[in-house]
Amino acid sequence: MPTPAALEVTDLVKTYGSRRAVDGLDLTAHHGRLTAVLGPNGAGKTSTIECCEGLRTPDGGTVRVLGLAPDDQRLRSRVGVMLQDGGLPTAARAGDVLTHVAAMYARPRDVHELRDRLGLDAFARTTVRRLSGGQRQRLALACALVGDPELVFLDEPGAGLDPQARAAVWALVRELRDRGVAVVLTTHQMDEAQALADDVVVVDHGRVVARGSVGELLTGARHTTTRLRTREPAPLEAVRGALRPGLEVRAEPDGVLTLTGDLTPQDVHRLTGALAQEGVLVADLTVGVRTLQDVFLELTGTELR
């Protein structure tokens, strides 16, 4: 990289009591790129981000934000923050909150444009307490961006958004990136990371378990994956019995069966044959496509956190 990194985290450690929530984590983010931090619940994403925002004190390692220490006052006008737990004053009206945060900056973004882009006008006169979850998220995002920052930390910006709001948020975030802003976001939504991220960092148990571009993560994976959706619930045992050993079958929570391993035409034939015998109609069969979700589950396992 020719320009210095916007964010440089080296060997970060954050402990709560005797528990190491962040355990030697490295993270780099660059101007004009979107870095997604992925990881299961409790992986240490928020702890990491909040150490970078100067809100938590690291127990080890170094954090440099735009070349400065994270608690440096000068960063306050150059870094935008969207917290996972909101942090918006609840008694004030949504529009007033945004105007108020804008007043903290010498050259804020155009408040009207932000309101318009994120559809805030519809509830600008509603108090924050009465906003829906997704409306609050959009207001919090507007507050993070209103100072026209060089670096933004967005902790789960996509949580609770409907498809329209998600599209608006994605467009805005892409535009920031294209204007040279360094964007760091955390998410559980694999499609969000896949759609937006230039760089992905997968975190588990406070450590980085994989990093790279979405493309690199997808091709570097161990197997190809096949996804099978059926009209009726798929009989897992029958499917298993019909397949060669070496092909792994798993039922996802949404009812989709995923098969990992290299699938041959014969395998597909046997698979649909077994389903036909059970009277189960195939609704959707996708062979050999891996999503970030597959990689994520492969890396972090299927156990609940």
Binding site: H31, G32, E53, G54, L55, L66, G67, Q73, R74, R76, S77, R78, V79, V81, L83, D85, G86, G87, L88, P89, T90, A91, A92, D96, H100, V101, A103, M104, Y105, A106, R107, C143, G147, D148, P149, E150, R179, G180, V181, A182
Partner: protein, 258 residues
């Protein structure tokens, strides 16, 4: 393009005076919009002033003065107490619980600006309630001297320092629901038994011994002395300064932002 001019020190922040003014206005609006807070900071003292002055059925030891001379300073002390303690304690506790303190700390306002805005808003509320109460007192026949009012304002500032510190002490350590209860209970206890509404001399023995050493008693007695005799004894001033320093140090050690 802001992302590339890596130089800008605090250039991107609004001037400190503008940030503080904005935060003060925002906090002030929050108090004025909140019915309960308006109630304890303005309506309640106003009602107390009118009722205690005019309802002669309630016995007061006036020591030869008119009723309003005795009532008005105590009511002003109560207004200072509720605006500086109860109201910011509750507001700050809920801001802390909702993450507002953390979010605003990441903007150019910062933590110090946030606290300064709260203190200025308290002074703003007191200016408002003080004006209303003095005007109401005058309408009821009270005639404070200009000197007395100036001294009273000075004492109110000292009392505010001590009570805002106490407010931050509870708001920064206890859960929001606990603060809600504590802030109101302490207000009632100090108003009646801490030398605020009821003069120390009229309190039962043990309380009368303790109250002058409390910030509430020092404020109440100080205001009564300033507004009746025009002379402020040193004791209440020193007691208030002592409490302000002690409580501020405690806040600095214990305040949790999240």
């Amino acid at each position: 393009m802001s992302a590339l001019d890596g130089t800008a020190g605090t250039a991107g922040a609004a001037p400190v005076a503008r940030r503080l003014a904005a935060q003060t206005r925002f906090e002030l609006a929050a108090v004025l919009r909140n019915g309960e807070q308006l109630m304890v900071t303005i309506a309640l003292p106003l009602v107390a002033l009118v009722v205690l002055t005019s309802a002669t059925a309630i016995e007061l030891s006036t020591h030869g003065r008119s009723r309003v001379d005795v009532v008005a300073p105590g009511v002003l002390a109560f207004a200072v107490l509720s605006a500086a303690f109860t109201s910011p304690a509750i507001a700050t506790a809920f801001d802390r619980r909702n993450g507002v303190l953390r979010l605003l700390a990441t903007t150019p306002l910062g933590r110090s600006g946030l606290l300064a805005g709260k203190v200025l808003a308290v002074l703003g509320v007191q200016l408002l309630s003080g004006t209303v109460l003095v005007a109401a007192g005058v309408a009821l026949g009270w005639r404070p001297t200009a000197l007395g009012l100036v001294e009273a304002a000075g004492l109110a500032v000292l009392g505010t320092a001590a009570f805002v510190a106490l407010a931050l002490l509870v708001a920064g350590t206890l859960r929001a629901e606990a603060v809600l209860a504590v802030a109101n209970l302490v207000l009632v206890a100090l108003a009646l038994a801490g030398g605020v509404l009821v003069p120390v001399a009229d309190l039962p023995g043990p309380l009368a011994a303790v109250a002058p050493w409390l910030p509430s008693g020092a404020l109440g007695e100080g205001l009564r002395a300033a507004l009746t005799t025009g002379a402020v004894p040193a004791a209440p001033v020193l007691v208030l300064i002592g409490w302000a320093g002690l409580l501020a140090a405690a806040v600095a050690r214990t305040f949790r932002w999240d």
